[in-house]
């Protein structure tokens, strides 16, 4: 057998763990305090509430925007109707006044 191969075989041969190994490991485990789990519950709820608020806010904003747009359109229509009414009342008045006015001879 090659001496190098022999050295490897010896070095890598399986050896049982010493008796104290298991006791030390278990002692170390007992020494360590259990780590508290990160409490992400409230964060999840906050994120969910924020999401709901954003969705409701977005829908409401869109409703208000549409309502304002429709209201402004209705207002423009109303003002246009009043302007047409005014101009035609004015026309009637001018016509009547021109008839009432004595004509130059």
């Amino acid at each position: 057998m090659d001496p190098l191969e022999n050295d490897f075989r010896e070095a890598l041969s399986r050896e049982p763990a010493p008796d104290w190994f298991a006791d030390r490991v278990m002692a170390r485990v007992r020494e360590q305090k259990p780590q508290p789990k990160p409490r992400l519950g409230w964060l999840r709820w906050a994120a969910a509430v924020a999401m709901v608020v954003m969705v409701i806010g977005g829908v409401r904003f869109d409703q208000v925007r549409r309502e304002r747009s429709a209201g402004e359109h209705a207002k423009q229509q109303l003002m246009l109707a009043l302007q047409v009414t005014g101009s035609k009342l004015h026309m009637a008045q001018v016509r009547v006044q021109s008839i009432d006015r004595p004509r130059p001879e």
Binding site: A74, V84, T85, G86, L89
Partner: protein
């Protein structure tokens, strides 16, 4: 109580219907011949909605808001044509026929043979108003429904082009057309 509410609703709906002009399909078709058209129809809901957007800070809008609060509808049809003869007397007579009843009073009627212009203002006894303005190349019909009386017309005076004294102080519409301020200008 419920009976009274139903009765009040029926009366108000009836009053609104009595003041509302019905534009025939032939009349509406004039829009096809017109070069410019104004077509406004505002029902009570739209009027109320529009008035919410009228500012109290603006004098004109505040006054309009006050007047509009008593209105139940506005209809405007105005057609401007490139050529004369685009509409016929029949088109105008269809409208006139609807304001012939005793509940309507002709308060102003002006005809100019020279300019071929006609302006007629009718008031309904419950407060509605109809204006018919006919010119060779233009035809306008305004129908205002609700409780607008002469004093409120005066309150609009100076605004939106409404003359300040379109209806003289103290004038109230009488159901007799004979009392209308009817003027016919004759060509010399």
């Amino acid at each position: 109580m419920r009976y009274r509410i139903v009765l009040a609703l029926a009366v108000s709906v009836g009053a609104l219907a009595a003041q509302q002009l019905k534009f025939t399909a032939a009349f509406e078709k004039l829009a096809e011949k017109a070069s410019e058209t104004v077509n406004v129809s505002l029902d009570p809901q739209t009027l109320g909605f529009a008035s919410k957007f009228l500012s109290d800070g603006n004098k004109d809008e505040a006054q309009a808001k006050k007047v509009v609060s008593k209105l139940t509808g506005i209809q405007v049809r105005s057609f401007e044509f490139d050529k004369e003869g685009a509409y016929t007397d029949a088109d105008v007579n269809d409208i006139r026929a609807q304001v012939k009843g005793p509940e309507w009073s002709l308060i102003v009627s002006s005809h100019s043979k020279k300019d071929r212009e006609t302006a007629e203002i009718y008031l309904h006894r419950d407060g509605g108003l109809v204006i018919i303005a006919a010119e060779p190349k233009e035809l306008t019909v305004v129908n205002i429904m609700g409780k607008i009386d002469p004093s409120e017309l005066r309150s609009l005076g100076g605004q939106f082009g409404v003359p300040k004294n379109i209806v003289p102080n103290g004038a109230t519409p009488k159901p007799s057309p004979a009392k209308a301020k009817d003027k016919d200008e004759e060509e010399e």
